[in-house]
Symmetry: C2
Subunit: 110 residues, 2 copies
Amino acid sequence: MAVHKKEEFSAREQNLAAFAKAISHPARIAILSVLAKRNQCICGEIVDILPLAQSTVSQHLKELKTAGLIDGETDGPRSCYCINWKAFEKFNTDFNSLFEKLKEAYAKCC
Amino acid sequence: MAVHKKEEFSAREQNLAAFAKAISHPARIAILSVLAKRNQCICGEIVDILPLAQSTVSQHLKELKTAGLIDGETDGPRSCYCINWKAFEKFNTDFNSLFEKLKEAYAKCC
DNA sequence: AATCTTTATCGTATATTTGCGATACAGAAT
DNA sequence: ATTCTGTATCGCAAATATACGATAAAGATT
């Protein structure tokens, strides 16, 4: 009963899905939104903004970082995160190439 | 220990997250990809293409439909799905308005 | 050096997702 | 009317995700 067959799909499908998964939680959207709105990286202010415990926020940040959506250096009692725009560009490109190219051939059939 | 505080975020954040969640699995990406490549809706062919059992595919289709990414009519022994392009446009718009508008102010700081 | 502050990690409880087989359902075919 | 065919749903097992408190880690402050 080997649950989870994600590996059996193409790399492209897996990559897109992984990016989507990273932004599939409102808290992570909120974090990215905060990071996007500032020119500079911010640190623990995110914890004050979100309605979540510090450990939970840290966990979400880790997921975003693991997925490559943000970069972050944590030196000592202070850490600094910022958006990895290249990852976003790649997602946009891949997403559009998959779902947008046939839009003009759009024939509503149901 | 009230797990899951998604409700405490803004509607916009929840909507974006919900869309992302819908496409956060390779199987669902694959399904959407197949639907996008055809002008007509297809039915059980998806089951033949994906490395998953029929019941599992049906479940993924249901999730996509519930999330509003696809439309589907099932009449009798045959069902017909197709992509809801408007939902995709909305996602693209919301996504870009959240994450793209400050790209030019991009100051790499870490 | 001892303490403070900030962030990461661990452990754990609960909720959700994924996947399959079995079965129900509904129109089509015989 | 009975059988066939394609799809949806149910029930269950296993994997993942979410959240928090407690604790560790590491530089800053005193």
